[in-house]
């Protein structure tokens, strides 16, 4: 019996791009009661305000829609967290689905992070319109992506697995005119 190894899409080596630590992801859907119970299990309060992320340590809950959250935790906590969430949520209707492998996490960082994104993303990424802690799904040219601003010049991006190459390929093309 072989033990299979995980193979993630490779990221180009760039001074504005880095991968994120291996991650467990759950899509949580449900009403306020489910949101509260999930928050207790996760150890943080799920954001009620639209388009905001709350994090505690390496765990985070991202508001994606009024009944939809992305819950993120280190990969190592995945199995235990799944059991904790399932147990906590059992009393109330909800949907909890493991989407750890559906998408890739990466970070765009540095002074050109928002400049790179605005080549293909139509959102206003100024700090006033897109403050630290904001998260939302949006588009980058022909792909959907999830943006989460972790710092003024750090964007956490989640993108579906098979769109990663397209996204990073476009960014590399955009970045050609950058110095360095």
């Amino acid at each position: 019996m072989v033990n299979a190894t995980a193979v993630l899409p490779t990221l180009p080596s760039k001074h504005w791009l880095r991968g994120t630590a291996p991650t467990t992801r759950f899509s949580l859907r449900g009403n306020a009661a489910a949101q509260q119970l999930a928050g207790q299990a996760l150890g943080l309060t799920l954001p009620v305000e639209a388009c905001r992320a709350h994090s505690a340590g390496e765990r985070a809950a991202l508001w994606l829609g009024p009944d939809e959250y992305l819950l993120i935790a280190p990969l190592i906590e995945g199995e235990a967290l799944r059991a904790q969430l399932a147990a906590a949520l059992a009393p109330t209707p909800h949907s909890l689905v493991d989407v750890s492998h559906r998408q890739i996490g990466l970070e765009l960082y540095g002074p050109h992070a928002s400049w790179l994104l605005n080549a293909g993303c139509p959102l206003d990424l100024g700090l006033a319109a897109f403050p630290i802690g904001m998260c939302t799904r949006s588009v980058f040219m022909k792909t959907e992506l999830l943006l989460w601003r972790k710092d003024a010049d750090v964007f956490h991006v989640e993108i579906w697995r098979s769109f990663t190459e397209y996204f990073t390929g476009l960014l590399s093309e955009v970045a050609r005119e950058l110095p360095g």
Partner: protein, 97 residues
């Protein structure tokens, strides 16, 4: 490219949205009881309004929610957007809907 006020996420670019056709066309609750003509009208008959038009949008590349909007088809300006299931704001329609 329009700016559309998502009732949940606020003003966002049209690229994030999918248009969903005319609003306030409810699926008959008991389809078996409606005539063929009524079913045909439910499926196909639309107003094609010139002026203030109630239409559905989905913030498909955002929060994923369907919602309704009043848009003037002659100017492309939105009068209001409101959540699915809500009545259009009376003050905004001028009785046109």
């Amino acid at each position: 490219m329009l700016v559309i006020q998502c009732p949940f996420c606020g003003p966002r670019p049209e690229l994030e949205f999918a248009h969903g056709g005319e609003a306030h066309i409810a699926r008959p609750s008991d389809p078996a009881s409606v005539t063929i003509e009524e079913w045909g009208a439910f499926l196909y008959l639309r107003k094609n309004t010139r002026g203030v038009h109630a239409e559905r949008w989905r913030h498909v590349r955002g929060c994923g929610r369907f919602f309704n909007a009043l848009r003037d088809t002659t100017t492309d300006q939105f009068i209001a957007t409101y959540k699915a299931g809500e009545a259009p704001p009376a003050s905004a329609t001028g009785g046109a809907v």
